[in-house]
Subunit: 459 residues, 3 copies
């Protein structure tokens, strides 16, 4: 094993660098959320997101990383590596995996902005970072999990977290937004009223920050797969007793180029097609060229591509983008119709698109790419894969499993918080702004503001 570790050192070195870039996602989330929020809640948003990062660090160090990547107990949960002090294998480094937990938690808290109690966030983070996400990520990524061990001929594919990050975070956020209820003034007399963000520049630049971080997220993950493949190959050559299927490598040329380049191309294409399509459709419909739709459909595309970008061709990435546009536009409309107030439309962007991107792999995964990165010889239905439908079945099962797991705990924890009266701030605080009530004053004390009031309740 020592020689393997030495040989693969570059993979973990690359992951350190990619991990730093992934950390930038947090800057993106906070810029986005601040921008879409109202000026009276800026400090609150900054504070809760920062505290989430800090808390996640302690939780991921103590238990999350172990539950996620430790040696599997019954295929359900990892049980080694608590209070981490050294990496759990060649490429499963703490720093890189911590950033995935951070992203999951940030998605949840985005859905709850501007009316949730400050006490609720750390509790939700604790549940998510110590339990819900680690177990989901164990199922999705740990070789010995029940989900990855279901078949010898194929495996559930979740490239960089369509299920383990986006379904998990987005669904908990959706449950939360529903149970917490809409911000005052968002829905009145059965009608939705837009609450425009106070600084769209911060939101749009935050979207680009997220894209930057996402390159670390998806491209970096390529090296996790390559590192695992190299480790398996080295182990085979030594003792020939390998747990991974020793399928022959794909024919030369079939997978030309650096796989991380394919990943970058695919995520870029999907995001671009998704955003441009949604922008075009919405502009034709409304006559307004809407920056928010451009940004959110872009993020929808990035989420769509996350479970898939290493496993599909660029043409499939275009299909993903078209699907992303449709799901985003439809989902956003559905949210409004259901009177769910999700200030960043995070639940659509993350939950709906994470689900769709994962399931679509059952149709579009290219066998040569799957083999290159996982060693399994299987692919999507359009490739007429030998056992048509096996991968699709696994994909559906995986998403349903993660969603069911997440849903149960989400309902439980939000219901408990509401019962305890700790979920939502009181009406006075919400109207006056969380910054004035809880955080010692406004975020922009020198600016003359005209607070946005669109609800009769605010007068």
């Amino acid at each position: 094993m020592d020689s393997v570790a030495a040989q693969n050192a570059p993979f973990s070195d690359l992951l350190i660098l990619h991990g730093a870039i992934v950390f930038f996602l947090q800057v993106g989330f906070v810029s986005l959320e601040v921008g879409y929020g109202r000026s009276k809640n800026v400090k609150n948003i900054l504070l809760k997101n920062t505290v989430n990062i800090l808390l996640c660090a302690i939780v991921w160090w103590s238990v999350g990383y172990a539950f996620s990547f430790g040696v599997s107990t019954g295929g359900f949960i990892g049980t080694s590596g608590f209070f981490h002090d050294g990496s759990l294998g060649v490429v499963k480094i703490w720093f890189y995996s911590w950033n995935f937990c951070l992203a999951t938690v940030a998605i949840v808290s985005g859905c709850l902005a501007e009316r949730t109690s400050l006490v609720a966030y750390p509790l939700l983070t604790l549940v998510m970072a110590s339990w819900v996400h680690p177990v989901a990520s164990h199922w999705a990524w740990q070789r010995d999990s029940w989900l990855l061990g279901l078949s010898d001929e194929c495996r559930f594919l979740d490239f960089a977290g369509g299920a383990a990050v986006h379904v998990c975070g987005g669904l908990m956020g959706l449950v939360g937004a529903t149970i917490v209820g809409p911000r005052i003034g968002r829905f009145e007399e059965g009608r939705a009223k837009d609450i425009p963000g106070h600084d769209v520049s911060s939101a749009a630049i935050g979207t680009l920050f997220l894209w930057f971080g996402w390159f670390g997220f998806n491209c970096g993950t390529t090296y996790v797969y390559l590192g695992n493949m190299a480790t398996a190959a080295a182990a085979t050559s030594v003792d020939d007793g390998l747990s991974a299927p020793s399928s022959p490598p794909p024919p030369a040329g079939a997978t030309g180029g650096n796989p991380a380049d394919r990943v970058a191309l695919n995520m870029t294409l999907t995001a671009s097609v998704s955003s441009l399509t949604a922008l075009l459709l919405s502009s034709l419909h409304s006559g307004t060229v809407d920056l928010v739709i451009c940004c959110n459909a872009l993020l929808a595309g990035l989420v769509m591509s996350t479970p898939a970008c290493g496993f599909i061709t660029s043409w499939a990435a275009v299909v993903y983008g078209l699907a992303g546009a449709g799901i985003y536009l439809g989902g956003a409309r559905l949210l409004v119709r259901m009177h769910v107030d999700d200030p960043l439309e995070s639940s659509v962007v993350h939950f709906a698109c994470g689900t769709a991107g994962t399931v679509l792999l059952g149709f579009l995964a290219r066998p040569a790419y799957v083999a290159q990165l996982t060693g399994y010889n299987c692919g999507g239905l359009v490739y007429g894969a030998r056992k048509g439908g096996l991968l699709l079945g696994l994909q559906v099962l995986g998403v349903v499993a993660v969603a069911a797991w997440t849903g149960v705990f989400s309902v439980l924890v939000f219901w408990a918080l509401r019962r305890a009266g700790r979920l939502r701030v009181d009406q006075v605080t919400e109207l006056a702004g969380l910054d004035n009530m809880d955080h010692g004053g406004p975020a922009y004390p020198e600016f003359n503001l005209v607070p946005y009031n669109n609800g009769s309740g605010e007068r």
Copy 2:
């Protein structure tokens, strides 16, 4: 070839990481442009820049990358690799090259801000990203292009895009700014009136964002050269039939240290000398220490260094910086005198400095560095290069060729757009602000603004 690819894998891995950093240039461009714009056009700027990125992705995937780096047809244009699905060689990865196209396009759109029609941008981006830039970059960088094949003893040098990116983007922007015409109120009764940006903090931080991205741009490009040299060396050792001149490697010590470190040093020195010199001169002249001059002269220095930073010594980098300060100050004054309204002074920063930096190589390129990165034994006039003037001639020719190529299409497309009445927004929209007219409302709905009006036409 397979063994070569394997051996050089680290180069493309490094380029993925550098590519992510280069992507940050887009954050820089957008911060800069938002900051220098007026509050009434913020959403428009954010939207057009984001759409440019998205559109470039589709164009670069479908044709741009192939025209640029595909197998050369007649030395004029690449014709393989359409709808890219795998890298065109060891270091010509799609992701990295796409970011260069993005930069070129962003430069153009900066010159047109605050009065150009929203329809014009995608059309301009299409022309630039699918045709003008790919062909220019084919000439400048593809080994088999007519420009690089002119001489057996030397070649046109454009380290990271002085001609292919900055001359190309800056000249199209200059043509555009001239044909679109100045913003209302910029020139009145023969006098220029400053239109101050609404958020200088965003502009100055955007400048630092750009610098960060530029380290990826220039340092990363070092690995493209090193990767190409390693590939050529490996090919030689195998079949001894090499297209690149097999000049002896430079003597040990002559090129000490990591070449990417030299690149970082040189670009930093040039930017620093340029900015400090311009700031000092302008402060002595006007009595005001002007942040905009500091930032723009810094960018001028970065542009100057882009074609050169791998090929020159640090002393030459200082000379570059002094030249950059002079060109920036003189060019900015000339723009005003010619009544060209370029809100970010992009045409000076990019076109003039890109030209100067490329041509100056004919004097200052150090032979040992040229040999290290390209295999050619030639250098600038101050080194008394064997064939004095050959490199200088190639540099002038290269810049003139790229400028002529770009100029023709720039005039054509802007002229066509103006004839079609699609180039500029109407006066009412310009005065009311693009955000209110086209994008559904202001970017900062809660802030009490005092819109800047400096033109009588605005009253």
Copy 3:
């Protein structure tokens, strides 16, 4: 030596990338300082910080890098590599080390914001970047320095700049803030009055920017140590005449995982524990959940970890975090009691925490990690190190030496500037705002501002 250089090329390649990330610290410092400042001084802050970067480049190129990493003269100062044109060894690349100088200088100027003369900054930067920091960093990091040569059995440990960067910058800032005196209105009739920053969002996002850059700072430094160890090992295998102690490598398993991952984990844990502890204590005390305390205690934790994160276990990182919270809260209170006005609390965050983090290593450094990264077999007192107290003595000595060295020149230069009447702007300028007086107008010309006045002197 050539083969060593070739073999270690990846280390310097990684440092180029980490160096770019460290550069982002400058974006962080400027965002932080702008956010905590008042709107009337925004341009001034942006300008002085940018000029500092530019000036540092010229100084570090010409002399700083040579004084710091050149061949040692008498163990006191380096004297080779002036006007750098090639790296001083395998991992001591110019670009990476320049960024450390930038950080040191930025710390100083943060303490002086909003009332210091524009002429003073370049002079201070000159003294710091050409003399004070290079010598301190020579002592702390250059193998042949008097400090590192004191003992054959152990050496002073300063992982990534607790003494050479944070003590050095923080102490000069503290001396400066004291001699410059408080901003008008900060202390009146013996009472401290808060001067809230004009844009807390910029400050908090700046804190996250800093954290991002800090990953480059600390994780990157790991490769400096690994590169030095690899060079030493290669030299030993060649000529067996090695200056570094050839202690046996630590037992396999004792140092499992990528050391850069340990670094990332430790700095994250310390920052998290520090910030959450300080936030909890202060919230219980005041009833307000204060974003500024959250951010500054986070930075305090990052500083604490800087000298230590490669050498300690994760449990020790938690202890570091607890200590960081206490030192930050106590130090901030002490500053106010002493009527020192440090707008960013930089002197506490950097000087006090840098000192504590360095000295604590004498107790908590883990021998196996010290051996892994330096080749020395020694550790902190809690490990019952063979020569208990030797390391602790060296740590105290190192910090005292750097502090004494810095203190002397700090007092001299600030005293000289004050005598020359060049240290502080006049009262009219300070009240009217530096932007209006020196920089041609306000930073946000379209925003309706209500300048913050909290001093009777301002009326």
